[in-house]
């Protein structure tokens, strides 16, 4: 129905503009301004850079997670990959030096991503269940290798990744910026990015349009594995030690950021910048609690409520369409 459809179009645009497009930016700005007013420390380069540095690993996982979700999947193994990559990179560093350590860590991420990719495409396992299983196995391997103890290194070379500064800014900030820009370019300007959205939106139509659905979805899992491993390396390098329980639940924080940014969890649409904004809304809540001296016990309650609001807006705008 043309009249009805253009009506719907207008309606959808209106809603998208008021809640989807602006809502998350508005929330971000409000939080930012409020914290700047109420805390003298918040709006200082040092504090802001620290926030970015601290949340960069989660942001990396969330950016990759956005690609996975856009393509119609979920990756629950990011936390396990994060820990296992950190552990094995430290062990490899202690044996063969920092370069070997980094290569090993990324290799672990690649492998777990590949296993997830194969399981959930040619293996036809549901992505939720498949990656949950590899997550459990990954943590199990991590515990088996470490025997439940902390592994650590004092290699100075290995510490560079997490502690070095370029022009006074932490390396992690650059890594995050580059990753976010690269992911955005991939989504907006490459065939692979268009394929990701097509697979998430309508896999059958995508296949009949000549898209290799398995290859596309699989690739998002490999990217997710690699970036989770990179995140693990950054933390391992910064702290110098990792254990098998490091980063438990980090994958859920990442998914929360994707959702808070206003991306659809059903796939087929979304934007990387939304996820980055989502990450820093979570980050500012954490930072705000600390700076304002609020009881940190309530932090998680606030975060949970914000997730509900974000998902609620998504569901309600969807229903209206």
């Amino acid at each position: 129905m043309i009249a009805q459809e253009s009506g719907r179009a207008a309606e959808r645009k209106r809603i998208a503009f008021s809640t989807g497009e602006l809502g998350v930016v508005l929330g971000f700005l409000l939080l930012f301004i409020a914290l700047s007013i109420f805390s003298p420390v918040f709006f200082t380069p040092r504090n802001l850079l620290n926030i970015v540095d601290q949340w960069a690993p989660i942001a990396l996982i969330a950016c990759a997670g956005t690609l996975v979700i856009m393509a119609g999947g979920f990756d629950l193994s990011a936390g396990a990959t994060f820990a296992l990559a950190g552990i094995l990179s430290i062990l490899a560093t202690n044996v063969a030096g920092p370069v070997a350590g980094i290569v090993t860590g990324l290799g672990v991420g690649f492998l777990i991503g590949l296993v997830n990719a194969l399981l959930t495409t040619v293996g036809r396992v549901n992505t939720f269940i498949g990656t949950l299983a590899t997550a459990i196995i990954g943590r199990g391997i991590a515990t088996a290798i470490t025997g439940g103890f902390i592994v650590s290194t004092d290699s100075e070379g290995f510490a560079i990744l997490g502690t070095a500064r370029v022009l006074g800014i932490q390396l992690s900030v650059y890594i995050l910026a580059l990753t976010a820009i690269a992911c955005t370019l991939v989504v907006l300007r490459t065939p692979f990015g268009r394929h990701i959205l097509a697979c998430g939106g309508n896999p059958e139509a995508a296949r009949l349009s000549g898209v290799s659905v398995h290859l596309t979805r699989g690739a998002t899992f490999v990217i997710s594995g690699l970036l989770a491993a990179l995140a693990g390396l950054m933390v391992a390098s910064q702290v110098g030690s990792v254990q098998s329980t490091t980063g438990v639940g980090i994958e859920f924080t990442a998914i929360a950021a994707v959702v808070i940014g206003g991306n659809s969890i059903f796939g087929g649409e979304g934007a990387i910048w939304r996820t980055v904004v989502g990450v820093f809304i979570l980050a500012m809540i954490g930072n705000g609690f600390t700076l304002l001296g609020l009881n940190p016990t309530y932090q998680d309650i606030v975060k949970g409520l914000i997730i509900l609001v974000a998902v609620g807006i998504d569901a309600w705008t969807r229903k209206k369409i």
């Binding site: 009249a3 009805q4 009506g7 719907r8 065939p191 000549g210």
Partner: protein, 495 residues
């Protein structure tokens, strides 16, 4: 039932304006109009699925407010929607009494429900086995389940929205019989449809809508398809087919030999020349769609061979087929054709992204210009980027799918039910484009259940029946009768 000055707008755009409509009890009342005319919206208002902004609804002279489908049912108004609302995994009887279960103290009264179900079947004279799982039934049987559901709630007025849009011809006539018998038993049917002949054959009154206005309500007996089209479009319009083209070469683009994919189709052989439109006719379920998909590489075939431009075709996925210059417009545009949340540009260029890519990045201006050219040629008057195709009319959506294979002219186009659920104007346009493409040398395999398309567009027709080629009809003996006979497997006269 009576509607008085009904108005409805969506975000400032009027979908319906000042509709006054009286519907007499015990009649079949046809509701027709182009896509976008407002007929489905009106149907939904009558069924309580949408509330009007202004105006009154009267049933038996009393004003009512229908706040939802459930509420409408309480007033005796039931809806059989275009997209059926059955629950596929539940049994027929569970579906019929869904939300209306007979129970005592929280326990289902199974025996009473069975008794009531038997009563319903007896009273209305059509039956569906009570314990069958609905998902395993044919579409027409599922529709029967929906109709029974409204009857189980004693609906007096039943709205049917495009009930035959997805039905093969013989099932449609089953449905017509049911609709007529409901009228005989005093029910009122509001029949929303694209098919003018259907409406004329069944309805007592016909109401024509155009751009949200009610143009006219008149007895069906005084109307012809021509007069209705004139009212719908506000002008005279020929539903004529363009003059048939002739093949532009003698070397077939497509040669299918002994192709089988058990159990869908077996031992199928035929060929298509460049510039030729070959119809693939037959009943729904006769293996036509599956055959098209197998040639395209969407499904595997088990034996036989396909030659494309004289060479053995080895495709294991649509991707391979596309590379060779084969395109498919699938049967269901929403489920298999379109990425609904993406725009026209993405939907049209998805198979060809590689050719707009330099150094890994898509050349957006080039891609947009190319898309705009095709969209203009197809007369799609909508922005090609930024607008999700979900918001386009059925006709425009179908044009987008056609445009996908005009971006880089495919050599062979397999097109499955190209005009299903598309309004008259777009239908006509699609016929003209198919014809044009053939003229330029494209080989077209047209899968269709619409007799007039097979007769009006095709140079030849391959008629399938139960997975096999029943008959190949050359231009000389391509008639409605011969196609129908072949589809049902009847002997030709004199054979």
């Amino acid at each position: 039932m009576e509607l008085q000055s009904i108005e409805k707008s969506f975000a400032g755009i009027h979908a319906l304006r000042g509709i006054d409509l009286g519907i007499r009890a015990g009649t079949i009342h046809g509701l027709i109009g182009e896509n976008g005319a407002g007929k489905s919206t009106l149907g939904r208002i009558i069924a309580g699925a949408t509330t009007p902004d202004l105006g009154r609804i009267l049933i038996d002279g009393k004003q009512v407010t229908l706040s939802g489908p459930r509420d409408a049912l309480r007033h005796g108004v039931g809806l059989v929607a275009q997209e059926l609302n059955v629950i596929p995994r539940m049994s027929v009887i569970d579906n019929v009494f869904l939300g209306n279960e007979l129970a005592r103290g929280g326990r289902l009264r199974l025996r009473s429900m069975r008794r009531r179900y038997a009563e319903l079947q007896e009273r209305y004279g059509f039956a569906v086995p009570a314990d069958t799982v609905v998902g395993s039934l044919r579409l027409v049987e599922q529709q029967k389940v929906e109709i029974l559901r409204t009857l189980a709630r004693d609906a007096e007025i039943i709205i049917m929205d495009e009930p035959t849009a997805a039905l093969p011809q013989n099932d449609a006539s089953t449905l017509f019989d049911i609709v007529r018998s409901l009228r005989q038993r005093g029910k009122t049917i509001i029949y929303v449809s694209h098919f003018l002949n259907e409406v004329l054959a069944m309805a007592d009154f016909v109401t024509v809508l155009k751009d949200g206005h009610l143009i006219d309500t008149s007895p069906a007996a005084g109307e012809t398809p021509r007069t209705l089209v004139r009212k719908m479009l506000g002008q005279e319009m020929d539903l004529a087919f363009p003059a048939k083209t002739s093949p532009v070469g003698s070397h077939p683009v497509l040669q299918v030999e002994g192709l089988s994919r058990a159990p869908a189709f077996q031992d199928v052989s035929f060929s298509v020349l460049p510039g030729e439109i070959v119809g693939l006719a037959g009943l729904v379920g006769s293996g036509r769609t599956e055959l098209g998909r197998a040639i395209y590489g969407a499904d595997r075939f088990t034996s036989g061979s396909v030659r494309f431009n004289g060479e053995a075709l080895k495709v294991s996925s649509p991707k391979d087929a596309i590379k060779l210059g084969i395109g498919l417009v699938p049967e269901s545009r929403k489920d298999q054709g379109l990425m609904l949340s993406m725009d026209i540009m993405d939907n049209m260029t998805m198979p060809h992204l590689g050719s707009y890519t330099r150094a890994g990045l898509i050349n957006e201006p080039g891609r947009k210009a190319a898309t705009s050219r095709v969209a203009q040629r197809l007369k799609i008057m909508r922005p090609v980027s930024g607008l999700p195709v979900r918001l386009l009319s059925g006709g425009n959506q179908q044009k987008v799918l056609l445009g996908r294979w005009m971006m880089r002219n495919a050599k062979l186009l397999i097109i499955d039910e190209p005009t299903r659920g598309v309004d008259v104007g777009a239908k006509q346009a699609i016929y003209v484009f198919l014809n044009e493409l053939a003229q330029q040398g494209m080989a077209i395999l047209l899968i269709s259940s619409e007799m007039e398309e097979i007769l009006g567009l095709c140079n030849r027709a391959v008629v399938m029946r139960e997975g096999r080629v029943s008959r190949q009809l050359m231009a000389g003996n391509l008639t409605e009768d011969s196609v129908r006979r072949a589809a049902f497997g009847m002997q030709e006269d004199g054979e």
